[in-house]
């Protein structure tokens, strides 16, 4: 438990991705099975632990200290788990806790203790751990372990243990269960690749690279097919016998949010596609915008009314399995033919095939992607006709070529420091545009951006913030911004949604600072009306 709690302590405070990866890899190297496997599961969110209620923890700590002293402590610390972890020893000097229980043993005893035994077990556990161990234990036992590490990053750390590819690990991952001993054995070269037990698992998806200058030079348009790039969420549908699943692009099981789609998977196999809300091509109904789709995302359960108002459907891109047959090695066009046949067995009205876009030159395609026929299209995809389905982001077989982002000129209003490497720079900016207010024009915030600029540009921005702060609220600096004085930036973004939560009524998707417009005065920046008109369009 000691190594695990020390790892958590470091991870939550480490912003850098590489540093996190190293902390994880070092931990996996140093800690034996099954503890490291349980730690991996805890980090990746695949660990099932019997739930301990905060109420019980509170009662346990009240057995040993004055309520008023506890309240002072809780008020000061702010987090219940941390308060209990810190006050547990109260006036005692912490006793030496050389022999802390192992993580695996902790999880095993939690999961096997009966309802009545849990109380005494938790008390003993808190007694046998130090403050950092208690914190980790409480977070584990209450199921609220968040440490800013994605499963993907954990897998990249795993790949450093042996010479195994992270995508290969990811492919196995969803078919294995904690404590993943067979996975570690294989990565470290001590055993064969583990056999997967569950058939309805997530398969890592194939991703595309953005088209950059010169990428298409020398490539022949006739070797590629083009499809519209739909603005929904990429998903993977799987059915094996009675098992049906919908996974997000990263392998998260999102079946619960889309029972309407789940029921409609009447075919056998694994399909790659885009989840959208609205109509279907074969019914001549247009797909609806991303903000409508958002009504369906991140829900554990979904009401019949929501399903009716925001009906989901899947626009299919590709086929990975036809029944139980792995077709990933086939060429794109062959898979597409097979996909057509599979979809025809699906429930009607819930699936259609993403149409191909015909083109004869890159210039023609360039024009098409800039002016797509549907607002829910964000560009085109290029897929090499003979490309097999390969997990990961390989350069060459697939490209994405997005329509150019929208841009506006905005004025910087607030700035905050960045994190990690950027902690000495003001690098997080809130920007605004003009709108008519009481007493004339005023700036209304429309978004936040913390990237897009170069290191050199960051220095310029940072200097501006340091020299033009007019007020401070905690870590936030208020910047000088009026019609004549202030900093104008060109903000690029992917789309606009209507928003009730923002004062301006608009929310930007994926905003970044594209250019510094030191040549412009704040008076020249855009107006809120311009943005609102972009939503209508």
């Amino acid at each position: 438990m000691k190594a695990f709690s020390a790892l958590l302590d470091r991870l939550v405070l480490t912003p850098g991705r590489n540093a996190k990866k190293q902390l994880l890899a070092d931990y996996f190297r140093a800690v034996p099975d099954p503890d490291r496997g349980y730690a991996l599961a805890a980090i990746a969110g695949t660990l099932d632990v019997a739930d301990v209620k905060p109420k019980m923890l509170r009662e346990l700590v009240m057995e040993r200290m004055d309520e008023e002293l506890f309240r002072y402590s809780y008020d000061y610390v702010g987090d219940l788990a941390e308060t209990i972890a810190l006050v547990w020893d109260n006036e005692r000097d912490p006793p030496p806790r050389e022999a802390e229980p192992a993580l695996g043993a902790v999880i095993h005893s939690l999961n096997t203790a009966g309802r009545t035994a849990v109380r005494a077990l938790v008390r003993d556990m808190l007694d046998s751990l130090d403050a950092s161990g208690r914190y980790a234990f409480i977070k584990l036992a209450t199921g609220s372990l968040r440490m800013g590490v994605s499963a993907k990053l954990a897998m990249q750390a795993l790949s450093e243990l042996g010479n195994k590819d992270a995508t290969e690990i990811e492919a196995l991952w969803h078919g294995l269960t904690p404590p993943y001993e067979s996975l570690f054995a294989w990565i470290e070269g001590r055993a064969e690749k583990p056999e997967l037990k569950s058939p309805a698992i997530f398969h890592p998806v194939m991703l595309a690279n953005p088209v950059q200058d010169g990428d298409l030079d020398g490539l022949s348009p006739s070797d590629y097919a083009a499809e519209w790039k739909w603005d929904g969420i990429r998903i993977q549908l799987t059915r094996r016998g009675d098992l049906r699943r919908i996974f997000s692009r990263s392998g998260e099981d999102i079946s619960g949010s889309f029972p309407d789609i789940l029921d409609a998977i009447t075919f056998e196999g694994t399909v790659d596609g885009e989840l959208l809300v609205g109509g279907l091509a074969d019914k001549d109904l247009q797909a609806r915008s991303f903000s409508d789709l958002q009504q369906r995302l991140n829900r554990k359960s979904v009401s019949a009314k929501t399903i009716e108002e925001f009906p989901a459907f899947v626009r299919a891109y590709d086929l990975l399995f036809r029944g139980e047959e792995d077709v990933r090695a086939l060429a794109f066009l062959e898979r597409r033919e097979a996909l057509k046949a599979v979809l025809s067995q699906g429930a009607p009205g819930k699936f259609d095939l993403s149409p191909l876009v015909s083109f004869s030159s890159w210039d023609e395609l360039d024009r098409l992607r800039q002016a797509p026929p549907d607002p829910v299209i964000e560009g085109v995809m290029l897929k090499k006709l003979d490309s097999p389905y390969q997990a990961g982001r390989l350069k060459g077989p697939w490209f994405k070529w997005k329509r150019d982002p929208h841009t506006i000129d905005a004025v910087l209003i607030y700035a905050q420091r960045g994190h990690g490497k950027r902690s000495s720079f003001y690098s997080d900016f809130t920007f605004g545009v003009w709108t008519e207010g009481e007493g004339g024009d005023q700036l209304v915030p429309v978004g936040k951006a913390y990237f897009g600029f170069t290191d050199e540009e960051l220095k310029v921005l940072d200097r501006f913030v340091r020299n033009n702060t007019v007020d401070r609220f905690g870590p936030v600096r208020v910047l000088k911004a009026n019609k004549q004085e202030g900093f104008v930036v060109e903000v690029a973004f992917e789309g606009l949604n209507r928003s009730n939560r923002h004062k301006s009524g608009v929310a930007m998707r994926f905003p970044r600072i594209a250019r510094l417009r030191t040549d412009k005065l704040p008076a020249d920046a855009d107006r809120l009306e311009t943005l609102k008109a972009m939503i209508e369009a």
Binding site: L13, T14, V87, R417
Partner: protein, 335 residues
């Protein structure tokens, strides 16, 4: 005797009407007794200042010659008579030269402990318990959440990180007086013998510690603009340098912070600290409560910090106690 007749809180600081002097006054006064050299306790502009030799030296280094009109050295443990009040200075174990001040009149005594601690510190004389009728204690870390670990364990954390991230500059934030020197001395005690780099703000005080026989090993000012110089090095500087432009000279700096506040994760997160080192120059909760039990005074006065919790603890243990509302001391001061 009514203790307030001997010492009472005034806007200027703790005042002794019989001897007509103040302890750690926050405004200029004719006669001041100073417990230690931290800037919220030791200020310039007083008439006469009575303090330990080290504290006077430190005040001179920080504020320049002429920080007061007249200096008087208090030898440790020696009785000094001020208009019929007997005053004596006793080690507080907080920083070099720090003292508790005992004030006695007609057999009744009050000890103003200033800031004090009881854990390991190779850079100053350890705390000495002093019997008294009234004990004035600080409460900077006066909450049951604070259990400062063995400082050598924290040093091990730093050494471990240096091994794990040999290319990153380990920047240790530490207050200029006391904490910085203690961290360096502890790091030496843990076996680290490479050169340690200093922010300019620490140089004079580190030099002074060395003249007082505190060996800090190989030190150099961090002045080079060449990033590679500091790769894998330990750099010690004031916490305020964290977010300053000064930090940019270092290769992929890993911010560490030596402070008792680092006990609380959110505190570390707010400051952007990656490696919290829980090293405090104040007592933690078990030390505060153990000290009060050990001294068993008739009454406890609690000042700067979380007075209410320690007063509550005293009440639960049938010890008379009250908060002493003194103004002008930094609540956040964990120097």
């Amino acid at each position: 005797m009514n203790p307030e007749a001997l010492l009472r809180p005034m806007p200027q600081g703790l005042y002794c009407p019989i001897g007509d002097f103040y302890i750690d006054p926050v405004q200029p006064v004719p006669r001041a007794l100073i417990t230690h050299g931290h800037s919220d306790h030791a200020r310039s502009g007083h008439g006469a200042v009575l303090a330990s030799r080290e504290t006077l030296d430190i005040m001179r280094i920080r504020m320049g010659e002429g920080f007061c009109r007249e200096e008087q050295v208090a030898e440790p443990g020696k009785l000094i008579d001020i208009s019929g009040v007997t005053v004596s200075f006793h080690p507080a174990g907080h920083v070099l030269g720090s003292c508790q001040i005992k004030v006695e009149h007609k057999g009744f005594s009050i000890v103003a402990s200033g800031d004090y601690k009881r854990s390991l510190d190779p850079t100053c004389t350890p705390y000495e318990p002093v019997r008294c009728n009234v004990f004035i204690t600080e409460a900077t870390f006066g909450l049951p959440v604070f259990h400062h670990p063995d400082p050598m364990q924290e040093m091990e954390k730093l050494l471990q990180s240096l091994r794990q991230f040999p290319d990153r500059t380990h920047f240790v934030g530490a207050y200029a007086l006391g904490k910085a020197q203690r961290v360096i001395a502890l790091l030496r005690a843990a076996g680290y013998d490479r050169r340690i780099y200093l922010h300019g703000a620490l140089v004079k005080l580190c030099d002074y510690y060395e003249t007082q026989g505190v060996d800090l090993g190989d030190l150099a000012a961090a002045v080079s603009e060449v990033k590679a110089d500091f790769r894998g090095a330990v750099v010690v500087g004031p916490p305020s340098a964290f977010t300053g432009v000064w930090m940019r000279r270092f290769a992929d700096p890993l911010p560490a912070f030596a402070s008792g506040w680092m006990m609380v994760r959110q505190r570390a997160r707010q400051r952007g600290v990656e490696l919290p080192l829980v090293i405090s120059d104040h007592c933690d909760w078990p030390e505060l409560t153990a000290t009060i039990r050990e001294l068993a005074p008739e009454e406890v006065w609690v000042t700067h910090g979380r007075e209410e919790a320690l007063v509550r603890w005293c009440a639960l243990n049938q010890i008379r106690a009250k908060p002493l509302h003194l103004v002008g001391y930094e609540d956040e001061g964990d120097a």
